[in-house]
Symmetry: C4
Subunit: 201 residues, 4 copies
């Protein structure tokens, strides 16, 4: 499955790039669980575990949110790389920057799980995901411009790609008014995805 070598441009191995990317996605997905704190009971046998577990509900929600977000990013990364025929140095560099942002997501997830009722974690989270979206867009634009795609087409329309940075950027000012409203606004991403899937290709 190695892409054929053409002369002039230094190329990189398709299989190993995809393998490293899948590894980073899989580990980022699986490390999220370490963010869920286990309650430390101090009151002896009569202490109740259910209220302590319920108090950690924000961490469970941030786990579910980040798992869904990283899974969605993986789905798109994978759809994009199916179209890629050749990897040049710049696409490799952009992909590594993209993976550095994906691997960073567990940190804002932890912030959100602990302090989800404050604006700061919502802003840090939204900026991180918006940056991921911007780098993903740069990868696509470069791949199109440099003729790295198969058949020079990319099946995802631009408005769909722009939805991730837009939705997260718009949520930043909302976060200062109401952190919870900002977090709920992220669910509109699901509606966009659902709508995009119904469109004819």
């Amino acid at each position: 499955m190695t892409a054929p070598r053409t002369s002039g441009v230094r190329e990189f191995d398709y299989d190993r790039t995809v393998a490293l990317s899948d590894g980073v996605f899989a580990i980022a997905l699986t490390l999220l669980v370490l963010n869920i704190g286990v309650p430390q009971l101090s009151g002896g046998a009569e202490a109740r575990l259910w209220p302590a577990l319920a108090a950690g509900g924000g961490e469970l929600l941030s786990y579910a949110l980040s798992f869904a977000v990283i899974a969605l990013l993986w789905t798109r990364h994978h759809a994009f790389f199916r179209e890629v025929r050749r990897i040049d140095g710049r696409l490799l560099g952009l992909n590594l920057l993209y993976l550095g942002l994906v691997a960073f997501v567990p940190f804002p997830t932890r912030l959100l799980g602990l302090y989800g009722d404050r604006p700061e974690p919502v802003v840090v989270y939204a900026v991180t995901i918006a940056l991921v979206g911007v780098v993903a867009g740069a990868m696509r634009l470069h791949a199109r411009g440099a003729g790295l795609l198969e058949g020079e087409i990319d099946r995802d329309p631009m408005w769909r790609l722009a939805s991730v940075p837009l939705i997260f950027l718009v949520s930043i000012p909302i976060a200062f008014l109401s952190p919870t409203t900002a977090e709920l606004s992220w669910l509109s991403l699901g509606a966009v995805e659902r709508f995009a899937r119904r469109l004819p290709r």
Copy 2:
């Protein structure tokens, strides 16, 4: 090994889906060890390590249990995906939900290792594994219905697939009477597996 593309339905890459799944399984299996706490000796050189290690025996047992459970889930996931010929958007989504539950297992494992003599961790653990079983069942039903399987057959009989959610759901009421009995009831899964392997195919 890429599945052939057919027109009309958006398809996903078989190899990358399986690679991501194997990555999540491998990491979930290996992260379990982080749940085993190392005793902190405070009494100086005369303090004994054996009793401190023995006090952490529950964590060792929960490690062994979860390793066996995730390994069994991997075996079935792998048997199922061998039959899959084509991956559509819904199967991809169900598989990501499934992986989100598998990646979550280290959390109830940690609870069980620390508070295995209480009903709450047993209930959280049983609900998690039962949900994994339900999503696995949904994947199979969808794959059959949408004609994604090779030869339209699935070699595992339904009663075998239903054994995981059933055994774990039945253990939930037992956990409120006796957490240890509920945990021991999970061992019946091994007997079901052993019985299923002896049947002629």
Copy 3:
């Protein structure tokens, strides 16, 4: 690279088994670094970091030891699986048990790094690695007996395979007299390997 299917015996996918195994090895190797504690300086700017780092030297040594041990195990696992032509249910089960022990190694490593001057961690470590060796031996014996190997031969002689459990088992009584001597005795494994490589095949 999928092994051809033969009738009658349930078989498992070679590629995914090897991928899961490599994943567990890679993660176990990389998680070891989490066992090295970072010194917490409390004395302000005048506090020295070198003595605090030197005090953690045992953790560095246990990192190097376990990395070498797991890397050696991977080399042998890989040499063995190159000969495997077919994977049956029992070999799959033994391999999962083997991986469960490999994934467990970070725990005795942490014990050894913290309490390497006591016999208990040395015993726990030696028992773990000896068990790995025993399960590896069982895998080979089963694969030979069940005709799962290519050309029915296995290139590693039995005395070489037995060296891992033997050296670690012998070190257990030594640990009660002198933990350091027991740890040093493990280095003889390197000499065995070096000797085995010089023999004509």
Copy 4:
């Protein structure tokens, strides 16, 4: 993609060696995020999160630095292994030593994030990366000498390969005068890379 077997020298599987290497790289990259500490607010609702986050800025910088360093190492490892035609026992051993050093990078990263204004972490970090560069050089020299490369050539010139150990070794004495200057001197690696890419091949 398995390299063809030739007689006389024991060989190792190319695919599994590369898969293990990619696994270790992906995990080392992704574990870095665990080094970023989440602020613990103690002052109640009026406590501010921004200053606490800003105080952890050194950890963010060390995350970005180590992600870039490991990503650069992966790019070179990958460029080197594309030229490798055959893996002998010594190359396998050197590669495992190399991976042991790459997997170790999260530890000096954590030191640097916590105590980046002191010389000690800078020295530990520089020594680690310089050692990685030395082992990488040994791998290349051995592969050339033993005829393991395709076409007996290696596309990266020696001065480019020597840049990693040189830049990090030179920064060690600087660290005792000014840790920050030493850290900034590492950025010259980016300039070397940029210059090397512009040269005709």
